[in-house]
Structures are given as structure tokens and as C-alpha cells.
């Protein structure tokens, strides 16, 4: 059988060329894989959901409910009634959270270890695009259960999209299929984008990301330079790396089912179908910082460019679009602002504490996001101390202080040699280092 296939497909060459390719090993290298695993779980659970979901807002009668409800909402009740239906829906929900978290941690790992530097600028940019697309897909799926909570959250997103000067209304109309809620095109449009188009884009980007990674070779821990200079130190894709990934995938599935089954996500019955009441919504954690910004930017932040129709730059545009876009563009430009001497290609990971400026800037950026997130809790019970002006003060002061404190600590630790990469000494004689 193998021979038959080998004669036709040249499997031996494929094995030698691709599957014997060596990958370096480090525990943080699995963050990207976990992101990929969440995507796989999302696709698989998503397929199950599409087979039972009804993308429509037609009113239907449901046994046990006096008023008719939208078909989308009714089909979620139906899915929840299937064997393991609620669990699969919950796993789909939790995997989305894990995917975004893992992608973000993966990004932080790349940033802190300097792995984005030449020649990997392209993959850095693709990675950031993937994070954005992932968050967009997550948002587009939010309205699908069509419960009151989901509708309110999506309505805010619709409002933010509309706030873009000139083009916003058209973009919102196309993305949401008209005014949201209120148009019968809403759910079919969001559904198509959520289950088909955006995942396709994501799959394309994932493929490109992996291809470039294989072509450019993975960065490796610093000690590899001493052990095997100029070579890649690690284990082959098959069987070792494949086995590790396989085990990790199974562990991932087990954990996500444990979480999904233990904490059933988004109980639509508790929120109820669309009603005139607005629930006290809070967005998911990855949107909280934007939500916080929307709360604290005053309505006076507004001007209009009287050119054509709709040239309004309102507070929602600043908080919901401009500030996130600035961060995004800044992140994309990071590889082009780091100057490695000459024409050197980055092959080894850098120690974060030996790059205090970059590391401190990263931590300061995180503090900025955390402070904005905290502003999202203004007005909540127990948060009376947090006024809008105090939130502004925290958002501006805390990141700056963090930067200097963190920079100072790292310099104090390393003293005069702070800019040097550490020398690694090999322990000789204690067994043979694996070579590849």
C-alpha cells in the first residue's frame, strides 16, 4: 500500500523534505498551536451548529412560550435541547475566547523575544491581521443567537461602524444588512460573514502564516547558537513534533470540553428574546478596553468637515475606531522601527530583560489596555471612586510610570552590561546535546 502510494506521490521525498523538517522546542512555541487548535475546534463545533441553526428573524411559535419569537432564537433553544447541543454551543463560545487569548499571548511572545525582526516582518503583519480578523469573526457571531443581550451588544457595534465619517453608514449597511436591529437581512448577512467569508479569509491567512514560517524557519532559543551554530536545534515534525502537537490537541479538547460543559456559556433563555428593555451589557473582555474608552471620551470631542455628506468625527469614532486603529498601525510598524545592525537576520530569541526599552514599552502598553478596561467599570456598584477624570488620569499616568519603573528595574539588575545578550555557558560532559 505504502509502496503503491509512494510510486505515485513520491511520499519518501515529501517525508524527507517536509516531515523530517526540524522544529525548535520551547513551551511558549505552543501558543500559536493552541490558537490553531481553537480554530479547528471552532470549525468543527461550528459545523454542528450551522446544521441546526436557522438564520432568520421570522416570528415562530415555540412550545412553552406565550409570545412568538424569532426563528434564530428558537433554533438556539432547539440546539440547546439536543444531546450535548448546549455543550457544543458552549465549547464553540469558549474556544473563541481561548483563540483570541492564545493569539494575543502568541503575539506578546513574538514581541518580547524579538522574533518579529527581519526577515519575519511579513509574518508579524499577517499575524496581527489574523488577530483582527479573529476578533471580527467573534463579533459577527455575537448577534446570531438573537437574544436581547446579543442584540444590544451588536447594536453598539453597528453604532460604532456607522460613526466612521463619510463611509460608515454604507459600511454598516453592508456588514449588518441594513439598520440593526430591524432589517430582515440582518441575520442572514451576519450569518454568511460569520460562518463562510471571514473563516475563509482566516484559513487563507493561517496557510500563508504557516508557509512563511516553514520557509523562513522558526526562531530558536539562544542556547542553540552555542550547541549547534548555524543549525536548527530541535525535533523533526514527524514523528516527535507531531506527537507532541497531537497530545497537546487532545489535552486542549479535553480542557475546553471541561470548561464548556462546566460553565455553559451565554444562556439565551436567561436573556430572553428581543425586547424593548436594554440589559446592562458589557462586551467580552477583549472589547472592554474600547468600551471603557467609549465611556470616558466626552461628547464634546466632535467636529464636522462640511465636505459632502456625513463628515462627522464624533466621540464614538475616536474611541471605537481611531484609538484602536492607531494601536494597530503602531503594532504593524514595530518591525520597521527596530534597527538590528547591518543585514543580520534574526535567528535566535532575545531575552526580554536585555531589551528593557522594548519590554518596558510592551508592559506599558498592557497597562494602557488594563486601565482602559478598568474605565469600562465606571458607574458599576463598588466602583464609585472611579470618576471619568480619575480614569483619564490613570490611563495617562499609569503606563508612563510603568515604563520608567520597569526600565529602571531591568537596568538595575543588569548594571552596565544591560544592552548585551547574556553569555551562555554549556555544561560539558553531562550527556550529549541533541543535534539535528
Amino acid at each position: 500500500m505504502y509502496q503503491w502510494l509512494d510510486e505515485r506521490l513520491d511520499l519518501g521525498r515529501l517525508n524527507a523534505k517536509l516531515f523530517r523538517k526540524v522544529f525548535p522546542v520551547h513551551h511558549t512555541f505552543f501558543l500559536g498551536e493552541i490558537t490553531l487548535f481553537s480554530f479547528i475546534v471552532l470549525v468543527l463545533t461550528g459545523v454542528f451548529l450551522t446544521l441546526n441553526y436557522e438564520p432568520s428573524t421570522q416570528l415562530v411559535k415555540v412550545e412553552g412560550l406565550t409570545d412568538p419569537v424569532q426563528a434564530a432564537y428558537a433554533s438556539i433553544l432547539y440546539i440547546d435541547s439536543l444531546p450535548f447541543g448546549a455543550v457544543i454551543r458552549s465549547v464553540h463560545h469558549w474556544s473563541a475566547h481561548i483563540m483570541i487569548a492564545a493569539a494575543f499571548l502568541h503575539l506578546l511572545r513574538i514581541l518580547l523575544s524579538g522574533a518579529y525582526k527581519k526577515p519575519r516582518e511579513l509574518n508579524w503583519i499577517i499575524g496581527i491581521l489574523m488577530l483582527v480578523v479573529t476578533i471580527v469573526v467573534a463579533f459577527l457571531g455575537y448577534a446570531l443567537p438573537y437574544d436581547n443581550y446579543a442584540i444590544t451588544a451588536t447594536r453598539i457595534g453597528h453604532g460604532i461602524a456607522e460613526s466612521v465619517p463619510w463611509v460608515g453608514v454604507a459600511v454598516a449597511q453592508i456588514m449588518f444588512g441594513g439598520d440593526f436591529p430591524g432589517s430582515s437581512h440582518n441575520i442572514p448577512r451576519l450569518y454568511s460573514l460569520h460562518v463562510l467569508w471571514m473563516p475563509l479569509v482566516l484559513m487563507g491567512l493561517i496557510g500563508l502564516h504557516l508557509l512563511i514560517m516553514i520557509k523562513q524557519k522558526h526562531t530558536q532559543p539562544k542556547y542553540a547558537e552555542k550547541v549547534a551554530p548555524g543549525k536548527i536545534l530541535g525535533v523533526p515534525a514527524l514523528p516527535q513534533q507531531g506527537l507532541m502537537s497531537g497530545v497537546l490537541f487532545l489535552v486542549f479538547v479535553a480542557v475546553v470540553f471541561l470548561i464548556g460543559g462546566g460553565f455553559l456559556a451565554h444562556p439565551v433563555e436567561a436573556y430572553g428574546p428581543l425586547s424593548a428593555n436594554t440589559p446592562n451589557v458589557k462586551p467580552d473582555w477583549y472589547f472592554l478596553w474600547i468600551y471603557g474608552l467609549l465611556k470616558i471620551i466626552p461628547s464634546s470631542f466632535e467636529f464636522t468637515i462640511p465636505l459632502f455628506n456625513g463628515g462627522k468625527f464624533g466621540p464614538e469614532f475616536w474611541g471605537g475606531v481611531v484609538i484602536p486603529s492607531i494601536l494597530l498601525v503602531g503594532a504593524i510598524l514595530i518591525p520597521f522601527f527596530s534597527f538590528t545592525e547591518g543585514n543580520v537576520k534574526q535567528r535566535y530569541l532575545e531575552l526580554p530583560s536585555r531589551h528593557p526599552r522594548r519590554t518596558s514599552l510592551t508592559i506599558a502598553g498592557l497597562m494602557f489596555l488594563i486601565m482602559c478596561t478598568m474605565a469600562g467599570y465606571i458607574g458599576d456598584p463598588g466602583m464609585e471612586w472611579l470618576t471619568i477624570s480619575r480614569a483619564w488620569l490613570l490611563i495617562i499616568v499609569v503606563p508612563i510610570v510603568t515604563y520608567f519603573v520597569s526600565f529602571w528595574i531591568m537596568r538595575a539588575i543588569w548594571g552596565e552590561t544591560w544592552q548585551k545578550e547574556p553569555e551562555i555557558e554549556l555544561i560539558v560532559g553531562g550527556g550529549q546535546a541533541p543535534r539535528a
Binding site: D67, T152, R155, I156, H158, G159, I160, E162, S163, G168, V169, A170, Q173, I174, G177, G178, D179, P181, G182, S183, S184, H185, R189, S275, A276, N277, T278, P279, N280, V281, Y291, L294, K295, I297, P298, S299, E302, G310, K312, G314, P315, E316, I378, G379
Partner: protein, 214 residues
């Protein structure tokens, strides 16, 4: 085969050598043709793409509010029944209402911009401009937050303000729906009303365009 190609190429080059001007003209014509083709394709794609913006279908349920509409409960046990002024509690909270066409009895709940907040306040608290469109102490406002379009469904009893649950925008119902605090850019527009036959009836459209400020 290769020989033929080489020959062909040779001929082309020979031709070019003979009269470069003719060749340049041909190239320009070809480039123009390609350009027109690409532009035409893109423009026709835009025309097809315009179909992505859905047409707004007007049904009796999502017609805009009109003068003469009766305000009915938007939710609860009395859903779709006219609001009786006597049932409104002095000092709030607000009741969320939809307009009902008095001729057809169709409740126009299909368009969120038709959502109306009704609240009864001490008549002496109302500003003169607000009192003009009120019926006694009963005032009605558009229920759609000017900030990001949520329904302003919360009530702050201590200050008698409408509160939007989404981003804590506060509006003052005694004072033309003025923004007291929070991010909304404009007041929510008031709805002129009168009380007749124990029903609350809109006497005109909202004083300004309802809905999220675009």
C-alpha cells in the same frame, strides 16, 4: 518548437526595428483596451456590489411614527394595549412604548426608532419648552440613545434622569431630554403628546430626528 519560437521572436524584433512608431501605437491601443476593460469590470462590480446595501422595505409595523398615533405598552403583561395615564407612577420610572396606528391598530414596533419613553413628573419641574409638548406632567421622548443607539431603558430615581445602560448616558426628561452626563452628543428628541379618552396620543412627529446620531 524552440526554433520556431526563436524565429518568431526574431521576426518580431525585426519588425520593431523596421518601424518602432507603429509598434508604440499598437502597444498604446492594447494598453488602452486593457485599461478600459479593467475599469469597466470594476465599475460593473460596484454596480452589483450596490446590491449589498439592502433595500428598506416599509411594512405597516415599521412605518415611522405619525401624529395621531396612540402610545401602547412595548412589553409586559399589557403589551400592545394603550397606556393609561393613570397607570403612570409620578416620578418614574419610564414606561417603554410603541406608537399604534389608530385606524389599523397596527403597533409600529418594527423600527427601533419608533421606541418612545413615557414618564410622569411633577408638572412644576418641567421647563417651559418641555411643558409645551407635555400633557400635564406626562412627557414622552424618543427611546433611542443618541450615542450608539441602545434603548434608554434605565431610570435614576434620585435625579429623575433617563439612563442608557450601554454607556451611562444620562438625559433629563424635565428639560427637553438634555444630556446631563455621559457620552451622548445630543438630547433625545421630545415627542409632543396630548391625553384624550384616557389614552396618550402623539400630536406631531418628534421635535428632532430620532435615533443614533450619525
Amino acid at each position: 518548437m524552440a526554433d520556431q519560437e526563436a524565429k518568431l521572436e526574431h521576426e518580431i524584433h525585426a519588425h520593431e526595428d523596421e518601424d518602432p512608431a507603429v509598434h508604440a501605437t499598437r502597444r498604446a491601443v492594447l494598453q488602452a483596451a486593457i485599461g478600459v476593460g479593467v475599469a469597466g469590470t470594476l465599475l460593473s462590480t460596484l454596480y452589483v456590489g450596490a446590491g449589498l446595501v439592502p433595500k428598506k422595505v416599509v411594512t405597516p409595523e415599521n412605518e415611522p411614527l405619525a401624529a395621531g398615533d396612540i402610545l401602547v405598552y412595548a412589553q409586559g403583561d399589557n403589551k400592545d394595549k394603550p397606556i393609561s395615564p393613570a397607570d403612570l407612577k409620578l416620578g418614574g420610572p419610564q414606561t417603554i412604548a410603541y406608537p399604534m396606528n389608530p385606524k389599523t391598530n397596527v403597533v409600529k414596533g418594527g423600527d427601533p426608532n419608533n421606541t418612545v419613553l413615557v414618564v410622569k413628573l411633577e408638572p412644576s419641574r418641567l421647563s417651559p419648552a418641555t411643558a409645551k409638548d407635555a400633557a400635564g406632567g406626562i412627557v414622552a421622548y424618543s427611546g433611542v440613545c443618541k450615542h450608539l443607539g441602545c434603548i434608554v431603558s434605565n431610570w435614576e430615581a434620585s435625579t429623575e434622569d433617563f439612563v442608557c445602560p450601554c454607556h451611562q448616558g444620562h438625559y433629563d426628561p424635565a428639560n427637553g431630554g438634555k444630556v446631563v452626563s455621559g457620552p451622548p452628543p445630543k438630547p433625545i428628541p421630545q415627542l409632543p403628546i396630548k391625553v384624550e379618552n384616557n389614552q396618550i396620543i402623539a400630536t406631531a412627529f418628534f421635535v428632532a430626528e430620532p435615533g443614533k446620531e450619525v
